[in-house]
Protein backbone atom coordinates (compact mmCIF):
# COMPACT_ATOMS: atom_id res chain seq x y z
CA UNK A 1 0.00 0.00 0.00
CA UNK A 2 1.30 3.51 -0.71
CA UNK A 3 2.35 5.52 2.37
CA UNK A 4 -0.73 7.69 2.17
CA UNK A 5 -3.95 6.22 0.91
CA UNK A 6 -5.00 7.68 -2.48
CA UNK A 7 -8.21 9.73 -2.24
CA UNK A 8 -9.87 7.46 -4.79
CA UNK A 9 -9.19 4.24 -2.88
CA UNK A 10 -11.81 2.40 -0.85
CA UNK A 11 -9.04 2.02 1.74
CA UNK A 12 -8.63 -0.89 4.11
CA UNK A 13 -11.24 -3.62 3.72
CA UNK A 14 -12.02 -6.81 5.60
CA UNK A 15 -13.52 -9.86 3.93
CA UNK A 16 -16.73 -11.23 5.38
CA UNK A 17 -18.20 -14.69 5.40
CA UNK A 18 -21.77 -15.88 4.87
CA UNK A 19 -22.88 -19.45 5.60
CA UNK A 20 -25.80 -21.06 3.80
CA UNK A 21 -27.38 -24.22 5.15
CA UNK A 22 -30.05 -24.60 2.52
CA UNK A 23 -28.84 -27.16 -0.04
CA UNK A 24 -27.98 -25.75 -3.46
CA UNK A 25 -29.06 -27.87 -6.44
CA UNK A 26 -26.47 -27.80 -9.22
CA UNK A 27 -26.65 -28.17 -12.99
CA UNK A 28 -24.62 -31.41 -12.86
CA UNK A 29 -27.43 -33.08 -10.88
CA UNK A 30 -25.63 -33.05 -7.55
CA UNK A 31 -26.53 -30.87 -4.59
CA UNK A 32 -24.21 -28.86 -2.42
CA UNK A 33 -25.60 -29.52 1.08
CA UNK A 34 -24.23 -26.35 2.67
CA UNK A 35 -21.64 -23.77 1.74
CA UNK A 36 -19.89 -20.58 2.65
CA UNK A 37 -19.25 -17.54 0.52
CA UNK A 38 -16.53 -15.04 1.27
CA UNK A 39 -17.18 -11.51 0.09
CA UNK A 40 -16.22 -7.86 0.50
CA UNK A 41 -18.32 -4.72 0.37
CA UNK A 42 -17.35 -1.14 -0.44
CA UNK A 43 -19.49 1.95 0.08
CA UNK A 44 -22.76 1.99 1.98
CA UNK A 45 -26.10 0.41 1.23
CA UNK A 46 -28.71 3.16 1.17
CA UNK A 47 -31.98 3.03 3.12
CA UNK A 48 -33.95 1.97 0.03
CA UNK A 49 -31.35 -0.76 -0.66
CA UNK A 50 -31.38 0.37 -4.27
CA UNK A 51 -27.71 1.24 -4.80
CA UNK A 52 -26.07 -2.20 -4.75
CA UNK A 53 -23.67 -3.29 -7.47
CA UNK A 54 -22.51 -6.89 -7.75
CA UNK A 55 -19.04 -7.66 -9.10
CA UNK A 56 -18.59 -11.07 -10.76
CA UNK A 57 -15.02 -12.28 -11.04
CA UNK A 58 -13.13 -13.98 -13.86
CA UNK A 59 -11.16 -17.23 -14.06
CA UNK A 60 -8.49 -16.52 -11.49
CA UNK A 61 -10.27 -13.69 -9.68
CA UNK A 62 -11.73 -13.54 -6.21
CA UNK A 63 -13.62 -11.33 -3.78
CA UNK A 64 -10.82 -8.84 -3.23
CA UNK A 65 -11.68 -6.40 -6.01
CA UNK A 66 -10.66 -3.06 -4.47
CA UNK A 67 -8.73 -1.51 -1.62
CA UNK A 68 -6.16 -3.12 0.64
CA UNK A 69 -6.35 -5.87 3.26
CA UNK A 70 -3.44 -4.47 5.23
CA UNK A 71 -1.06 -1.54 5.06
CA UNK A 72 1.63 -4.03 4.05
CA UNK A 73 -0.18 -5.07 0.84
CA UNK A 74 1.92 -4.36 -2.19
CA UNK A 75 -1.06 -4.17 -4.57
CA UNK A 76 -4.73 -3.26 -4.19
CA UNK A 77 -7.63 -5.51 -5.26
CA UNK A 78 -7.81 -6.73 -8.87
CA UNK A 79 -10.30 -4.10 -10.11
CA UNK A 80 -9.11 -1.16 -8.04
CA UNK A 81 -8.69 0.85 -11.26
CA UNK A 82 -12.48 0.99 -11.63
CA UNK A 83 -13.92 0.74 -8.09
CA UNK A 84 -13.56 3.58 -5.60
CA UNK A 85 -14.64 7.14 -4.82
CA UNK A 86 -15.05 8.99 -8.14
CA UNK A 87 -14.14 5.95 -10.24
CA UNK A 88 -16.39 4.23 -12.80
CA UNK A 89 -18.10 2.27 -10.01
CA UNK A 90 -18.28 5.21 -7.67
CA UNK A 91 -18.36 4.02 -4.06
CA UNK A 92 -19.65 7.46 -3.03
CA UNK A 93 -22.86 6.45 -4.79
CA UNK A 94 -22.90 2.68 -4.93
CA UNK A 95 -22.71 -0.15 -2.43
CA UNK A 96 -20.44 -2.72 -4.03
CA UNK A 97 -20.57 -6.44 -3.28
CA UNK A 98 -17.74 -8.65 -4.53
CA UNK A 99 -17.58 -12.35 -3.74
CA UNK A 100 -15.42 -15.39 -4.32
CA UNK A 101 -17.34 -17.96 -6.34
CA UNK A 102 -18.12 -21.47 -5.17
CA UNK A 103 -15.36 -23.87 -6.11
CA UNK A 104 -12.84 -21.08 -5.69
CA UNK A 105 -9.69 -21.21 -3.60
CA UNK A 106 -9.88 -17.88 -1.79
CA UNK A 107 -12.26 -18.68 1.03
CA UNK A 108 -15.60 -19.71 -0.46
CA UNK A 109 -16.47 -23.40 -0.29
CA UNK A 110 -14.37 -25.28 -2.81
CA UNK A 111 -12.03 -28.22 -3.42
CA UNK A 112 -9.73 -27.13 -0.55
CA UNK A 113 -12.53 -27.47 1.99
CA UNK A 114 -13.77 -30.51 3.88
CA UNK A 115 -16.63 -32.45 2.35
CA UNK A 116 -18.93 -32.99 5.34
CA UNK A 117 -20.15 -36.30 3.91
CA UNK A 118 -16.73 -37.92 3.69
CA UNK A 119 -14.84 -35.98 6.30
CA UNK A 120 -11.95 -35.40 3.91
CA UNK A 121 -11.14 -32.63 1.45
CA UNK A 122 -13.49 -32.22 -1.47
CA UNK A 123 -10.51 -32.22 -3.85
CA UNK A 124 -11.47 -33.54 -7.29
CA UNK A 125 -14.86 -34.60 -5.93
CA UNK A 126 -16.05 -31.03 -5.68
CA UNK A 127 -18.88 -30.79 -8.19
CA UNK A 128 -18.15 -29.13 -11.52
CA UNK A 129 -19.81 -25.72 -11.26
CA UNK A 130 -21.62 -23.85 -14.01
CA UNK A 131 -22.14 -20.13 -14.46
CA UNK A 132 -25.80 -20.74 -13.61
CA UNK A 133 -24.86 -22.44 -10.31
CA UNK A 134 -22.73 -19.47 -9.37
CA UNK A 135 -25.51 -17.05 -10.10
CA UNK A 136 -27.96 -19.13 -8.02
CA UNK A 137 -25.54 -18.93 -5.08
CA UNK A 138 -25.04 -15.19 -5.63
CA UNK A 139 -28.80 -14.65 -5.45
CA UNK A 140 -28.81 -16.16 -1.99
CA UNK A 141 -26.05 -13.82 -0.93
CA UNK A 142 -28.16 -10.92 -2.24
CA UNK A 143 -31.10 -12.22 -0.17
CA UNK A 144 -28.87 -12.39 2.88
CA UNK A 145 -27.76 -8.79 2.37
CA UNK A 146 -31.34 -7.64 1.84
CA UNK A 147 -30.76 -6.66 -1.78
CA UNK A 148 -33.86 -7.31 -3.82
CA UNK A 149 -32.63 -5.72 -7.02
CA UNK A 150 -29.09 -4.80 -8.00
CA UNK A 151 -28.61 -1.38 -9.56
CA UNK A 152 -26.07 -3.18 -11.73
CA UNK A 153 -24.36 -6.53 -12.04
CA UNK A 154 -20.92 -6.09 -13.54
CA UNK A 155 -18.21 -8.42 -14.76
CA UNK A 156 -15.38 -8.98 -17.21
CA UNK A 157 -14.53 -12.18 -19.11
CA UNK A 158 -16.03 -15.15 -17.20
CA UNK A 159 -17.55 -12.49 -14.94
CA UNK A 160 -19.41 -11.11 -17.95
CA UNK A 161 -20.97 -14.53 -18.51
CA UNK A 162 -22.34 -14.43 -14.97
CA UNK A 163 -23.81 -11.00 -15.68
CA UNK A 164 -25.61 -12.42 -18.74
CA UNK A 165 -26.89 -15.32 -16.68
CA UNK A 166 -28.26 -12.90 -14.08
CA UNK A 167 -30.08 -10.94 -16.78
CA UNK A 168 -31.65 -14.07 -18.25
CA UNK A 169 -32.43 -16.06 -15.09
CA UNK A 170 -33.27 -13.29 -12.61
CA UNK A 171 -34.51 -10.40 -14.77
CA UNK A 172 -36.49 -8.82 -11.94
CA UNK A 173 -33.41 -8.61 -9.73
CA UNK A 174 -31.07 -6.63 -11.99
CA UNK A 175 -31.61 -3.13 -13.37
CA UNK A 176 -28.42 -2.86 -15.42
CA UNK A 177 -25.92 -5.33 -16.83
CA UNK A 178 -22.31 -4.45 -17.68
CA UNK A 179 -20.65 -7.16 -19.78
CA UNK A 180 -16.97 -6.47 -20.46
CA UNK A 181 -14.52 -8.41 -22.66
CA UNK A 182 -16.85 -11.38 -22.58
CA UNK A 183 -18.51 -13.76 -25.01
CA UNK A 184 -21.90 -15.48 -25.20
CA UNK A 185 -19.99 -18.77 -25.63
CA UNK A 186 -16.47 -20.03 -26.10
CA UNK A 187 -15.12 -20.80 -29.55
CA UNK A 188 -13.44 -24.11 -30.36
CA UNK A 189 -10.11 -22.30 -30.06
CA UNK A 190 -11.00 -21.05 -26.56
CA UNK A 191 -11.94 -24.56 -25.47
CA UNK A 192 -8.74 -25.89 -27.03
CA UNK A 193 -6.60 -23.53 -24.94
CA UNK A 194 -8.52 -24.54 -21.82
CA UNK A 195 -7.92 -28.20 -22.63
CA UNK A 196 -4.18 -27.63 -22.96
CA UNK A 197 -4.24 -25.99 -19.53
CA UNK A 198 -6.21 -28.88 -18.04
CA UNK A 199 -3.93 -31.48 -19.60
CA UNK A 200 -0.89 -29.66 -18.26
CA UNK A 201 -2.32 -29.95 -14.74
CA UNK A 202 -3.73 -33.46 -15.01
CA UNK A 203 -0.58 -34.92 -16.52
CA UNK A 204 1.64 -33.57 -13.76
CA UNK A 205 2.80 -36.62 -11.72
CA UNK A 206 2.10 -34.60 -8.59
CA UNK A 207 -1.58 -34.25 -9.53
CA UNK A 208 -2.54 -37.70 -8.21
CA UNK A 209 -5.97 -37.58 -9.81
CA UNK A 210 -6.68 -34.39 -7.89
CA UNK A 211 -5.77 -35.88 -4.48
CA UNK A 212 -2.42 -34.07 -4.31
CA UNK A 213 -3.17 -32.69 -0.84
CA UNK A 214 -3.37 -36.23 0.53
CA UNK A 215 0.09 -36.80 -0.93
CA UNK A 216 1.27 -33.60 0.65
CA UNK A 217 2.20 -32.07 -2.67
CA UNK A 218 0.93 -29.65 -5.32
CA UNK A 219 0.98 -30.11 -9.13
CA UNK A 220 3.13 -27.06 -9.40
CA UNK A 221 4.58 -27.74 -12.84
CA UNK A 222 1.14 -28.37 -14.32
CA UNK A 223 -0.35 -25.23 -12.84
CA UNK A 224 2.64 -23.25 -13.99
CA UNK A 225 2.27 -24.46 -17.57
CA UNK A 226 -1.49 -23.85 -17.48
CA UNK A 227 -0.90 -20.29 -16.35
CA UNK A 228 1.82 -19.69 -18.94
CA UNK A 229 -0.52 -20.77 -21.75
CA UNK A 230 -3.35 -18.76 -20.26
CA UNK A 231 -1.20 -15.71 -19.85
CA UNK A 232 -0.23 -15.72 -23.52
CA UNK A 233 -3.91 -15.56 -24.42
CA UNK A 234 -4.52 -12.64 -22.06
CA UNK A 235 -1.93 -10.42 -23.71
CA UNK A 236 -1.82 -9.18 -27.28
CA UNK A 237 1.02 -9.82 -29.69
CA UNK A 238 1.61 -6.10 -29.60
CA UNK A 239 1.73 -5.73 -25.82
CA UNK A 240 4.10 -8.68 -25.51
CA UNK A 241 6.28 -7.24 -28.25
CA UNK A 242 6.27 -3.81 -26.65
CA UNK A 243 7.08 -5.22 -23.24
CA UNK A 244 9.80 -7.70 -24.18
CA UNK A 245 10.54 -7.62 -27.89
CA UNK A 246 13.34 -10.09 -28.49
CA UNK A 247 15.32 -8.81 -25.54
CA UNK A 248 17.76 -11.27 -24.05
CA UNK A 249 18.50 -11.66 -20.37
CA UNK A 250 22.23 -11.69 -21.09
CA UNK A 251 24.03 -10.17 -24.05
CA UNK A 252 24.52 -13.31 -26.09
CA UNK A 253 22.83 -16.52 -27.12
CA UNK A 254 24.03 -19.47 -25.09
CA UNK A 255 22.71 -22.28 -27.28
CA UNK A 256 20.87 -24.03 -24.50
CA UNK A 257 17.40 -24.37 -23.03
CA UNK A 258 17.61 -22.17 -19.99
CA UNK A 259 15.86 -18.85 -19.93
CA UNK A 260 17.32 -16.64 -22.65
CA UNK A 261 14.63 -14.28 -23.82
CA UNK A 262 13.00 -11.85 -21.40
CA UNK A 263 9.56 -13.10 -22.39
CA UNK A 264 10.52 -16.60 -21.24
CA UNK A 265 11.64 -15.25 -17.93
CA UNK A 266 8.41 -13.30 -17.52
CA UNK A 267 6.18 -16.26 -18.33
CA UNK A 268 8.10 -18.53 -15.96
CA UNK A 269 7.83 -15.95 -13.22
CA UNK A 270 4.08 -15.55 -13.76
CA UNK A 271 3.63 -19.32 -13.85
CA UNK A 272 5.67 -19.88 -10.69
CA UNK A 273 3.85 -17.19 -8.75
CA UNK A 274 0.48 -18.60 -9.80
CA UNK A 275 1.40 -22.22 -9.06
CA UNK A 276 1.89 -21.50 -5.38
CA UNK A 277 -1.11 -19.18 -5.04
CA UNK A 278 -3.88 -21.03 -6.89
CA UNK A 279 -5.51 -24.42 -6.47
CA UNK A 280 -5.31 -26.90 -9.35
CA UNK A 281 -8.78 -28.39 -8.82
CA UNK A 282 -10.27 -24.89 -8.75
CA UNK A 283 -8.50 -24.03 -12.00
CA UNK A 284 -9.89 -27.16 -13.64
CA UNK A 285 -13.47 -26.50 -12.64
CA UNK A 286 -13.33 -22.81 -13.53
CA UNK A 287 -12.21 -23.66 -17.07
CA UNK A 288 -15.09 -26.14 -17.33
CA UNK A 289 -17.57 -23.46 -16.31
CA UNK A 290 -16.21 -21.34 -19.15
CA UNK A 291 -16.48 -24.18 -21.66
CA UNK A 292 -20.04 -25.11 -20.72
CA UNK A 293 -21.55 -21.61 -20.87
CA UNK A 294 -23.78 -21.41 -23.94
CA UNK A 295 -27.20 -19.90 -23.25
CA UNK A 296 -28.22 -20.12 -26.91
CA UNK A 297 -27.83 -23.93 -26.85
CA UNK A 298 -31.21 -24.33 -25.14
CA UNK A 299 -32.84 -22.24 -27.87
CA UNK A 300 -31.66 -24.00 -31.06
CA UNK A 301 -28.67 -21.69 -31.16
CA UNK A 302 -30.82 -18.56 -31.11
CA UNK A 303 -29.09 -16.18 -28.71
CA UNK A 304 -31.80 -13.52 -29.08
CA UNK A 305 -34.38 -16.05 -27.89
CA UNK A 306 -32.18 -16.94 -24.92
CA UNK A 307 -31.95 -13.26 -24.01
CA UNK A 308 -35.71 -12.67 -24.35
CA UNK A 309 -36.47 -12.84 -20.59
CA UNK A 310 -33.96 -10.04 -19.79
CA UNK A 311 -35.46 -6.70 -18.77
CA UNK A 312 -32.37 -4.71 -17.77
CA UNK A 313 -30.29 -2.22 -19.71
CA UNK A 314 -27.03 -3.57 -21.09
CA UNK A 315 -23.61 -2.09 -21.63
CA UNK A 316 -21.25 -4.28 -23.65
CA UNK A 317 -17.57 -3.35 -23.95
CA UNK A 318 -14.83 -4.99 -26.02
CA UNK A 319 -11.14 -4.28 -26.63
CA UNK A 320 -9.58 -4.10 -30.08
CA UNK A 321 -6.61 -6.42 -29.44
CA UNK A 322 -8.46 -8.95 -27.30
CA UNK A 323 -7.97 -12.20 -29.21
CA UNK A 324 -9.22 -14.41 -26.39
CA UNK A 325 -12.75 -12.98 -26.52
CA UNK A 326 -12.59 -10.86 -29.65
CA UNK A 327 -14.74 -7.78 -30.35
CA UNK A 328 -16.64 -9.99 -32.84
CA UNK A 329 -17.92 -12.10 -29.93
CA UNK A 330 -19.17 -8.96 -28.19
CA UNK A 331 -20.80 -7.87 -31.46
CA UNK A 332 -22.54 -11.24 -31.63
CA UNK A 333 -24.00 -10.53 -28.20
CA UNK A 334 -24.94 -6.94 -29.08
CA UNK A 335 -26.63 -7.98 -32.32
CA UNK A 336 -28.64 -10.63 -30.48
CA UNK A 337 -29.66 -8.08 -27.84
CA UNK A 338 -30.79 -5.66 -30.56
CA UNK A 339 -32.68 -8.44 -32.32
CA UNK A 340 -34.40 -9.11 -29.00
CA UNK A 341 -35.07 -5.33 -28.79
CA UNK A 342 -33.30 -4.95 -25.48
CA UNK A 343 -31.84 -1.62 -24.41
CA UNK A 344 -28.13 -2.02 -25.14
CA UNK A 345 -25.10 0.15 -25.73
CA UNK A 346 -21.79 -1.03 -27.11
CA UNK A 347 -18.31 0.47 -27.07
CA UNK A 348 -15.27 -1.02 -28.81
CA UNK A 349 -12.28 0.35 -26.94
CA UNK A 350 -9.03 0.75 -28.84
CA UNK A 351 -6.41 -0.79 -26.58
CA UNK A 352 -3.04 -2.46 -27.09
CA UNK A 353 -3.38 -4.67 -24.01
CA UNK A 354 -5.35 -7.66 -25.28
CA UNK A 355 -7.84 -9.41 -22.99
CA UNK A 356 -6.15 -7.99 -19.89
CA UNK A 357 -7.28 -4.51 -20.96
CA UNK A 358 -10.50 -4.98 -18.99
CA UNK A 359 -8.48 -4.92 -15.76
CA UNK A 360 -6.39 -1.86 -16.60
CA UNK A 361 -7.05 1.87 -16.38
CA UNK A 362 -7.73 3.54 -19.73
CA UNK A 363 -9.16 6.96 -20.39
CA UNK A 364 -11.83 5.99 -22.92
CA UNK A 365 -12.75 2.76 -21.11
CA UNK A 366 -13.17 4.82 -17.93
CA UNK A 367 -15.32 7.40 -19.73
CA UNK A 368 -17.59 4.74 -21.22
CA UNK A 369 -17.90 2.64 -18.08
CA UNK A 370 -18.19 5.70 -15.83
CA UNK A 371 -20.62 7.43 -18.18
CA UNK A 372 -22.96 4.46 -18.13
CA UNK A 373 -22.72 4.09 -14.34
CA UNK A 374 -23.37 7.80 -13.88
CA UNK A 375 -26.63 7.38 -15.77
CA UNK A 376 -27.46 4.32 -13.63
CA UNK A 377 -26.97 6.46 -10.51
CA UNK A 378 -29.03 9.31 -11.93
CA UNK A 379 -31.94 7.03 -12.92
CA UNK A 380 -32.02 5.63 -9.40
CA UNK A 381 -31.84 9.11 -7.89
CA UNK A 382 -28.58 8.30 -6.12
CA UNK A 383 -26.89 11.38 -4.83
CA UNK A 384 -23.25 11.49 -3.94
CA UNK A 385 -22.73 10.58 -0.31
CA UNK A 386 -20.52 12.94 1.67
Amino acid sequence: MPETLPADSVGLVTPQQARFDEPLPLACGKTLPAYELVYETYGELNAERSNAVLICHALSGHHHAAGYHSPDDRKPGWWDAHIGPGKAIDTDRFFVVSLNNLGGCHGSTGPCHINPETGRLWGPEFPVMTVGDWVDSQVRLADRLGIERFAAVVGGSLGGMQVLQWAMRYPERIANAVVIAATPRLTAQNIAFNEVARQAIRSDPDFHGGWYAAHDTVPRRGLKLARMVGHITYLSEHSMGAKFGRDLRSDELNFGYDVEFQVESYLRYQGDAFSTAFDANTYLLMTKALDYFDPAADHQGDLAAALAPASCRFLVVSFSTDWRFTPERSRELVDALMRARKPVSYAAIDSPHGHDAFLLPDQRYGAVFGGFMKRVARDLGLEERH
Partner: protein, 203 residues
Amino acid sequence: MRPDLTLIHRWVPEGAQVLDLACGDGTLLDALARDKGVTGYGLEIDPDGITACLERGVNVIEQDLDQGLANFDDDACDLVIMTQALQALRRPDRMLDEMLRVASEAIITFPNFAYWRHRLYLGFKGFMPVSRSLPYAWYDTPNIHLSTFNDFERLCTDKGLVITDRAVGRGDHESHWSSRLWPNLFGEIAIFRVGRGEARRHG
Protein backbone atom coordinates in the same frame (compact mmCIF):
# COMPACT_ATOMS: atom_id res chain seq x y z
CA MET B 1 -31.97 21.46 -31.04
CA ARG B 2 -30.62 21.89 -34.56
CA PRO B 3 -33.37 23.12 -36.93
CA ASP B 4 -33.19 19.99 -39.09
CA LEU B 5 -33.65 17.86 -35.95
CA THR B 6 -36.68 19.88 -34.89
CA LEU B 7 -38.31 19.16 -38.21
CA ILE B 8 -37.48 15.45 -38.07
CA HIS B 9 -38.85 15.33 -34.54
CA ARG B 10 -42.21 16.39 -35.98
CA TRP B 11 -42.14 13.71 -38.68
CA VAL B 12 -41.41 10.70 -36.43
CA PRO B 13 -44.56 8.80 -35.42
CA GLU B 14 -45.34 8.07 -31.75
CA GLY B 15 -43.84 4.89 -30.38
CA ALA B 16 -41.76 4.16 -33.48
CA GLN B 17 -38.81 1.79 -33.40
CA VAL B 18 -35.98 3.92 -34.78
CA LEU B 19 -32.40 3.51 -35.93
CA ASP B 20 -30.42 6.77 -35.91
CA LEU B 21 -27.31 6.45 -38.07
CA ALA B 22 -24.51 8.75 -36.91
CA CYS B 23 -26.54 9.78 -33.88
CA GLY B 24 -23.88 12.13 -32.47
CA ASP B 25 -24.48 12.97 -28.83
CA GLY B 26 -27.95 11.39 -28.91
CA THR B 27 -29.92 14.67 -28.76
CA LEU B 28 -32.55 13.53 -31.26
CA LEU B 29 -33.11 10.03 -29.87
CA ASP B 30 -33.25 11.41 -26.34
CA ALA B 31 -35.92 13.96 -27.31
CA LEU B 32 -37.87 11.37 -29.32
CA ALA B 33 -37.80 8.93 -26.40
CA ARG B 34 -39.06 11.52 -23.95
CA ASP B 35 -41.63 13.25 -26.14
CA LYS B 36 -42.91 10.41 -28.31
CA GLY B 37 -42.05 7.16 -26.56
CA VAL B 38 -39.73 6.23 -29.41
CA THR B 39 -37.32 3.33 -28.82
CA GLY B 40 -34.30 2.23 -30.76
CA TYR B 41 -30.58 2.58 -31.18
CA GLY B 42 -28.10 5.17 -32.32
CA LEU B 43 -25.04 4.17 -34.31
CA GLU B 44 -21.91 6.28 -33.83
CA ILE B 45 -18.14 6.03 -34.04
CA ASP B 46 -17.13 9.27 -32.35
CA PRO B 47 -15.92 8.44 -28.80
CA ASP B 48 -17.21 11.72 -27.33
CA GLY B 49 -20.58 11.22 -28.96
CA ILE B 50 -20.78 7.69 -27.56
CA THR B 51 -19.93 8.83 -24.04
CA ALA B 52 -22.51 11.63 -24.26
CA CYS B 53 -25.15 9.09 -25.35
CA LEU B 54 -24.27 6.78 -22.45
CA GLU B 55 -24.60 9.60 -19.94
CA ARG B 56 -27.96 10.59 -21.44
CA GLY B 57 -29.24 7.04 -21.37
CA VAL B 58 -29.49 6.78 -25.16
CA ASN B 59 -28.77 3.28 -26.52
CA VAL B 60 -25.67 3.75 -28.64
CA ILE B 61 -23.80 1.14 -30.64
CA GLU B 62 -20.24 1.75 -31.81
CA GLN B 63 -20.49 0.87 -35.47
CA ASP B 64 -18.85 2.18 -38.63
CA LEU B 65 -21.55 2.92 -41.21
CA ASP B 66 -19.15 2.26 -44.07
CA GLN B 67 -19.25 -1.40 -42.98
CA GLY B 68 -22.97 -1.45 -43.80
CA LEU B 69 -25.97 -2.61 -41.77
CA ALA B 70 -25.61 -6.34 -42.37
CA ASN B 71 -26.12 -7.01 -38.65
CA PHE B 72 -29.70 -5.72 -38.90
CA ASP B 73 -32.47 -7.92 -40.26
CA ASP B 74 -34.87 -6.80 -42.99
CA ASP B 75 -37.55 -4.62 -41.38
CA ALA B 76 -35.66 -4.59 -38.09
CA CYS B 77 -37.28 -1.26 -37.26
CA ASP B 78 -39.92 1.21 -38.43
CA LEU B 79 -37.73 4.12 -39.42
CA VAL B 80 -34.08 4.85 -40.15
CA ILE B 81 -32.79 8.39 -39.66
CA MET B 82 -29.50 9.74 -40.92
CA THR B 83 -28.68 13.39 -40.36
CA GLN B 84 -25.67 15.05 -41.95
CA ALA B 85 -23.77 11.81 -42.59
CA LEU B 86 -24.73 10.56 -46.06
CA GLN B 87 -22.19 12.85 -47.70
CA ALA B 88 -19.39 11.41 -45.55
CA LEU B 89 -19.99 7.78 -46.51
CA ARG B 90 -17.99 5.85 -49.08
CA ARG B 91 -21.11 4.70 -50.96
CA PRO B 92 -24.20 6.77 -50.14
CA ASP B 93 -26.23 4.89 -52.76
CA ARG B 94 -25.61 1.55 -51.11
CA MET B 95 -26.41 2.99 -47.70
CA LEU B 96 -29.74 4.20 -49.05
CA ASP B 97 -30.52 0.63 -50.17
CA GLU B 98 -29.53 -0.67 -46.75
CA MET B 99 -31.64 1.90 -44.91
CA LEU B 100 -34.74 0.94 -46.85
CA ARG B 101 -34.06 -2.74 -46.35
CA VAL B 102 -33.89 -2.33 -42.56
CA ALA B 103 -36.98 -0.09 -42.42
CA SER B 104 -39.76 0.86 -44.79
CA GLU B 105 -39.10 4.55 -44.26
CA ALA B 106 -36.01 6.73 -44.00
CA ILE B 107 -35.35 10.36 -43.12
CA ILE B 108 -32.15 11.81 -44.51
CA THR B 109 -30.56 15.22 -44.21
CA PHE B 110 -27.43 16.52 -45.93
CA PRO B 111 -25.86 19.86 -46.90
CA ASN B 112 -27.23 21.05 -50.25
CA PHE B 113 -24.22 21.85 -52.43
CA ALA B 114 -26.40 23.84 -54.83
CA TYR B 115 -27.36 26.35 -52.11
CA TRP B 116 -27.06 29.83 -53.59
CA ARG B 117 -24.26 30.91 -51.24
CA HIS B 118 -22.23 27.86 -52.29
CA ARG B 119 -22.85 28.69 -55.93
CA LEU B 120 -21.72 32.27 -55.44
CA TYR B 121 -18.68 31.19 -53.47
CA LEU B 122 -17.53 28.81 -56.17
CA GLY B 123 -18.71 30.96 -59.07
CA PHE B 124 -17.11 34.22 -58.00
CA LYS B 125 -14.30 33.27 -55.67
CA GLY B 126 -13.34 30.14 -57.57
CA PHE B 127 -12.68 28.21 -54.37
CA MET B 128 -14.48 25.22 -52.88
CA PRO B 129 -17.24 26.70 -50.71
CA VAL B 130 -16.70 26.98 -46.99
CA SER B 131 -19.87 27.78 -45.04
CA ARG B 132 -21.89 27.06 -41.92
CA SER B 133 -23.10 23.79 -43.38
CA LEU B 134 -19.77 22.98 -45.05
CA PRO B 135 -17.22 24.23 -42.53
CA TYR B 136 -14.17 22.29 -43.80
CA ALA B 137 -11.39 22.97 -46.28
CA TRP B 138 -11.36 20.72 -49.36
CA TYR B 139 -8.39 18.72 -48.09
CA ASP B 140 -9.62 17.85 -44.60
CA THR B 141 -13.35 17.57 -45.16
CA PRO B 142 -15.08 14.33 -44.18
CA ASN B 143 -17.72 15.23 -46.80
CA ILE B 144 -16.51 13.17 -49.73
CA HIS B 145 -19.80 12.89 -51.62
CA LEU B 146 -21.36 16.30 -51.84
CA SER B 147 -24.64 16.48 -53.68
CA THR B 148 -27.63 18.69 -54.32
CA PHE B 149 -31.36 18.53 -53.75
CA ASN B 150 -31.76 17.58 -57.39
CA ASP B 151 -29.04 14.91 -57.29
CA PHE B 152 -30.69 13.16 -54.38
CA GLU B 153 -34.12 13.27 -56.00
CA ARG B 154 -32.68 11.73 -59.14
CA LEU B 155 -31.01 8.95 -57.11
CA CYS B 156 -34.31 8.17 -55.42
CA THR B 157 -36.09 8.11 -58.78
CA ASP B 158 -33.44 5.82 -60.27
CA LYS B 159 -33.86 3.45 -57.36
CA GLY B 160 -37.63 3.53 -57.60
CA LEU B 161 -37.98 5.05 -54.15
CA VAL B 162 -40.84 7.29 -53.14
CA ILE B 163 -40.12 10.73 -51.70
CA THR B 164 -42.96 11.38 -49.26
CA ASP B 165 -41.75 14.69 -47.88
CA ARG B 166 -38.96 17.16 -48.43
CA ALA B 167 -37.94 20.29 -46.65
CA VAL B 168 -35.03 22.63 -46.17
CA GLY B 169 -33.38 23.49 -42.94
CA ARG B 170 -31.13 26.08 -41.40
CA GLY B 171 -30.90 28.56 -44.22
CA ASP B 172 -31.67 32.27 -44.20
CA HIS B 173 -34.65 31.39 -46.34
CA GLU B 174 -35.74 28.47 -44.20
CA SER B 175 -39.39 29.44 -43.99
CA HIS B 176 -39.32 31.80 -46.93
CA TRP B 177 -41.48 31.11 -50.00
CA SER B 178 -38.37 31.05 -52.16
CA SER B 179 -36.89 27.98 -50.50
CA ARG B 180 -40.19 26.15 -50.80
CA LEU B 181 -40.40 26.95 -54.47
CA TRP B 182 -36.74 26.53 -55.30
CA PRO B 183 -35.21 24.33 -52.58
CA ASN B 184 -32.24 23.42 -54.76
CA LEU B 185 -31.23 27.08 -54.83
CA PHE B 186 -32.39 28.42 -51.48
CA GLY B 187 -32.19 25.39 -49.16
CA GLU B 188 -28.98 25.11 -47.19
CA ILE B 189 -29.81 21.74 -45.63
CA ALA B 190 -31.80 19.18 -47.59
CA ILE B 191 -34.27 17.07 -45.64
CA PHE B 192 -35.94 14.10 -47.31
CA ARG B 193 -38.43 11.54 -46.18
CA VAL B 194 -38.21 8.49 -48.39
CA GLY B 195 -40.20 5.28 -48.61
CA ARG B 196 -39.88 2.05 -50.53
CA GLY B 197 -41.26 2.11 -54.03
CA GLU B 198 -44.13 -0.09 -55.22
CA ALA B 199 -41.85 -2.83 -56.48
CA ARG B 200 -40.04 -2.99 -53.16
CA ARG B 201 -43.20 -2.90 -51.14
CA HIS B 202 -44.64 -5.93 -52.90
CA GLY B 203 -41.38 -7.68 -53.64
